[in-house]
């Protein structure tokens, strides 16, 4: 960004328009490359969604191309750790590469779980490149419906 001198007096609309034009032209000149590095956009910790439902939390994590056996979900205290490695796709040495955006390497993500989660009942599964972790809440914190008998 250029530093533009602050002009106090006189506002020239024609000049302003010209400046806008220059600015836009500069935007086009920028060597715009998509900075996205796939779903591992966030350096080495994959993006995550956590949804709270009545009796459980669901954590979802996009891990495209990651083999199920290369993912390690563990819990220590109330800290859930998703760890794993994404392997580089194989191609021959003489391949002519046109675009390379896929990321490979190891990643890790930790989540502090609320106390209401029962660490013994956590389940995880991988489908279509998405890791889904079910975090059930403890029995005592689940909302309970008590039926009242009216006599």
């Amino acid at each position: 960004m250029n530093l533009i001198r602050w002009k106090t007096p006189g506002f020239d609309p024609a000049q302003e328009l010209e400046r806008i034009q220059q600015e836009i032209n500069r935007l086009f000149d920028l060597d715009y490359t998509d900075r996205s590095m796939g779903l591992f956009d966030r350096a080495t910790s994959p993006a995550i969604d956590v949804v709270e439902e009545e009796d459980h939390f669901t954590a979802m994590c996009d891990l495209p191309g990651v083999d199920q056996k290369d993912v390690d979900v563990s819990i220590a205290g109330n800290v859930l750790t998703i760890k794993g490695e994404k392997k580089m796709s194989t191609r021959s040495e003489k391949a002519k590469v046109f675009r390379k955006e896929e990321w490979a390497g190891s990643f890790q993500r930790t989540l502090s779980l609320p106390r209401s989660v029962d660490p013994d009942k956590i389940q995880a599964e991988m489908t279509d490149g998405v890791l889904r972790i079910q975090l059930p809440k403890r029995e005592e914190v689940k909302p309970r419906q008590i039926s009242v008998n009216v006599s």
């Binding site: 779903l39 495209p64 191609r91 279509d128």
Partner: protein
């Protein structure tokens, strides 16, 4: 699925990221599409265009999100095929959220070795 094509048109799409390379007479596309199952892939060739679309299962927007970082939207991208690609031989495979498309080069453009005969 109960979504009409019009609804699909209106949905937000993102370009899937991936690798594209040429090797052994084929052009390979490897596109990251997490959350898209094999049945939700729409891959077609129209004229000179290869159209890729992956529909993601829509999560309920009204759920209470504690953390929300994942990108939303369907995956869509159109690639222009040139004359070297054999339109009749396109293979695709969906595995662990990655779509792999194999485009074969026409035999006519593949490098061919001509033997020199000695007399």
């Amino acid at each position: 699925m109960a979504t009409t094509s019009k609804e699909l048109e209106a949905r937000r799409t993102v370009r899937p990221v991936g690798n594209i390379w040429e090797e052994d007479g084929t052009v390979m596309l490897r596109l990251e599409m997490p959350g898209v199952s094999k049945n939700d892939i729409d891959l077609r060739v129209e004229n000179d265009q290869l159209i890729v679309r992956g529909t993601r299962q829509v999560e309920d927007e009204n759920k209470s999100y504690v953390i929300r970082e994942r990108a939303r939207g369907d995956f869509a991208q159109t690639y222009t095929l040139d004359d070297t690609i054999d339109r009749e031989r396109i293979e695709a495979k969906m595995e662990r959220g990655i779509l792999t498309v194999t485009l074969h080069l026409k035999d006519a453009v593949k490098p061919r070795k001509i033997e020199v005969k000695a007399r």
